[in-house]
């Protein structure tokens, strides 16, 4: 036993190291009592201090693990005019200090120590630390207990007193701050990391930082965070403390229990409950967590959001330097687990949102390309009017219509459909449109034009497994003939006042991008007086109504016949057909693009 008596006039300190042995308690406490008596404490206060100190020392000794018996229990008594403080530093794993210890049943032989300490001393704080824990017991001194051994002049005494009180207050504040720190450390860690998440958006980095804080707060040595992935049946390691065994432990498959014998993470996830492990309930030999320490104690928390399993969080400490997690530490782990679950789901939602925005942006781009490709105005051909219509589906496809003037009396009409959606389809539509324009020498011979285009597009199209159907119609007003060629496209419809029966023009031809050298054929038909020509994509004919009925080619043909009979100009035809399509299937969004191009001979010319 060692003791020292600092010769301070006011705050007097007595320190003493107590061997970790119950037999040594009594004499040590008697020495402290002696010291306190010298400071003028009355008998009843001495007794109170004595009991409280004995109880504190007994606990410090009784709960010290055997391997720490060599370390002394440290006692410190601080006494000034107004207060006294007793400190006992133990080397136990520490325990959860109860807010208010209750008396046990009268016939119970144990469990009165903490009650006595709390009753006799006020306030009492227990500070848990890495190497030791300190119990701080205070007591205000009663008035008669004042004892000024060396009173200076009154003014000086007052100043010293004030300074002393200030120092004392500061010490109280420091202690309170320390305690607040322990309690709020978890919260501040969470807040700090949340702020960082807002900046970085990196869930993995965020989780690692947060969980390293958790290790610090709970004096734990390692963590493994797994998240559910792969159709909700697989628990994959998302983050783990460093250094971790290389490579990372394998994923746990929730639907195959036999593959994970005794793995606590698997148990926690599949049984949807918290699982503790320690020396009495050690990790199974095959448990992946044993790579972090076979003799670990800790906790696995399943992560839930509402009822959905999100993952598991395992936190453990090496048993060689500490015992199992306390109730409060487990609570902190739980809090972090709950918080992480929310953050993981948030991050997922965020990602989905960003992806959603990307898709929406891509669709917007594709739609813009598609719009930009359409002719702003049509070439003027004497005695004829032209009208085009393109209605985009939600998933923008690669529909295209175009009209090229070949001469004053001739036009090339094009309707095409790139099989595919989004930006790639729109890009091919753009390429197709350009190709037609750079091959003017072939415009009067549609089949040759298609062959050329196929040759130029084949490699690119087959690489992305896309193809294009197209209908080309070369219209010679002077000769009053129409030459059409098709690349797997739906037929062109033609009728006139002189030949009112609607004629389908559908020359043979494979879509572009299917074969390297397909054969295309031209079909030439005369253009009767008052002719009406309709080029369209299958978005029209394959449109289905609520009963699953197709709009169909027959309906188009009947309508065209009627338009010819009524001598409708192109714009009126467009309005009517668009309205009838909308009426047929008023649903939004459309399942596919709807595109058509109409050439109508003016009535004056008929």
């Amino acid at each position: 036993m060692t003791a020292s008596f600092p010769k301070t006039a006011r705050a007097v300190t007595f320190e003493l190291a107590l061997e970790c042995n119950l037999d040594a308690v009594r004499s040590a406490v008697v020495a402290v009592r002696q010291f306190l008596a010298e400071q003028g404490l009355p008998e009843d206060e001495l007794t109170a201090c004595e009991i409280a100190l004995v109880e504190a020392c007994n606990n410090a000794i009784q709960y010290a693990p055997v391997h720490r018996h060599g370390e002394p229990v440290e006692i410190k008594a601080i006494c000034n005019g107004a207060k006294l403080e007793l400190q006992v530093t133990d080397h136990t794993p520490g325990f959860d200090w109860p807010e208010a210890a209750a008396l046990p049943d009268p016939t119970c032989e144990r469990g009165r120590g903490l009650f006595l300490i709390q009753t006799l001393m006020q306030p009492v704080r227990y500070f848990r630390g890495g190497t030791g824990n300190t119990l701080v017991m205070r007591r205000g001194r009663t008035r008669q207990g004042y004892h000024h051994s060396t009173l200076g002049p009154e003014g000086l005494a007052q100043t010293t007193e004030t300074a002393e009180r200030l120092r004392d207050s500061e010490r109280v504040i420091t202690d309170m701050a320390k305690e607040l720190c322990v309690r709020s450390e978890s919260l501040s860690a969470i807040f700090r990391c949340s702020a960082e998440l807002g900046r970085s958006n990196d869930l993995k980095e965020f989780s690692e930082r947060l969980l390293n804080d958790l290790l610090h707060i709970t004096s734990s040595d390692w963590f493994v965070l797994r998240l559910v992935s792969g159709s909700d049946t697989c628990l994959e390691v998302f983050a783990a403390s460093e250094p971790f065994s290389v490579p990372l432990p394998p994923a746990l498959h929730l639907d195959t229990p036999a593959a994970n014998p005794g793995a606590v993470e698997w148990q926690a996830a599949s049984q949807r409950r918290e699982i503790r492990f320690d020396l009495e309930h050690p990790l199974a030999g095959a448990d992946p967590l044993t790579s972090l320490g076979r003799n670990s104690s800790g906790l696995v928390c399943p992560l839930f959001l509402h009822d959905r399993l999100i993952g598991t969080l395992a936190v453990g400490r090496d048993l060689s330097d500490a015992e199992r997690l306390s109730a409060r530490e487990a609570e902190v782990v739980r809090t972090f687990a709950g918080f992480l679950a929310i953050q993981c789901v948030n991050a997922q939602l965020q990602e989905d949102h960003v992806n959603g925005r990307l898709i929406a942006r891509e669709l917007e781009i594709a739609r813009n390309i598609q719009r930009a490709l359409l002719p702003k105005s049509f070439p003027c051909v004497r005695g004829f009017s032209l009208c085009g219509f393109l209605q985009s589906a939600r998933q923008v496809g690669g529909d295209l219509y175009d009209v090229l003037p070949v001469s004053d009396d001739a036009l090339l009409l094009i309707v095409a459909d790139v099989m595919g959606h989004g930006v790639p389809a729109a890009m091919f539509a753009a390429i197709l449109r350009s190709l037609v324009r750079v091959l003017p020498e072939w415009t009067h011979q549609p089949s040759a034009l298609l062959s050329k285009m196929n040759r130029m597009l084949y490699d690119d199209l087959s690489e992305v497994e896309m193809f294009i159907t197209a209908q080309l119609a070369f219209v010679d007003i002077r000769q009053r003939v129409l030459t059409a060629a098709s690349a797997g496209h739906c037929p062109l419809l033609l009728a006139s006042a002189s030949q009112p029966a609607v004629r389908t023009v559908s020359p043979e031809g494979m879509p572009l991008g299917i074969l390297r050298n397909p054969a295309f054929t031209d079909e030439t038909v005369p253009l009767g007086k008052g002719a009406r020509l309709l080029l369209y994509t299958d978005g029209l004919t394959e449109l289905r109504d609520g009963q699953g009925q197709c709009f169909g080619q027959q309906r188009l043909m009947r309508w065209l016949a009627s338009a010819v009979a009524r001598r409708l100009p192109a714009d009126a035809m467009k309005t009517e057909l668009a309205a009838s399509l909308e009426q047929f299937q008023p649903l939004d969004p459309l399942p596919d693009d709807q595109t058509f191009l109409i050439l109508a001979e003016d009535n004056s010319g008929s």
Binding site: L22, R26, I51, L103, T107, R112, G113, F115
Partner: protein, 102 residues
């Protein structure tokens, strides 16, 4: 500590303290000294300057052992010193124990 057997009464005295260090020994000693035809145990606490929660536990253990005997043995605590009496009151054990002053 002194134990004195007087017919139906076991008298225990000269206990200087009853704490974690000696409470187990105290309990064992008392139990070992319980003869068959005992009616009363008197523990004289007049010399006992200090009792802690373990000491209380030992007294409770003796109380329970006594009450558990056939016919029941009465446990009487005699003349506790003021601090020990205070401790009994603080822990409400003065309701459990018969405490006598003579």
């Amino acid at each position: 500590m002194k134990t004195q057997h007087d017919g139906e009464t076991l008298h225990i005295s000269d206990i200087l303290e009853l704490s974690a260090a000696n409470s187990r020994a105290f309990r064992d000693q008392v139990n070992a000294a319980l003869p068959a035809a005992l009616k009363t145990i008197e523990i004289d606490l007049s010399q006992t300057s200090f009792v802690d929660s373990c000491g209380l536990g030992a007294l409770i253990a003796v109380y329970k052992a006594a009450a558990g005997r056939d016919g029941g043995i009465i446990l009487r605590l005699l003349n506790p010193t003021p601090p020990v009496q205070q401790l009994f009151e603080l822990t409400r054990l003065h309701h459990l124990f018969e405490i006598a002053r003579r």
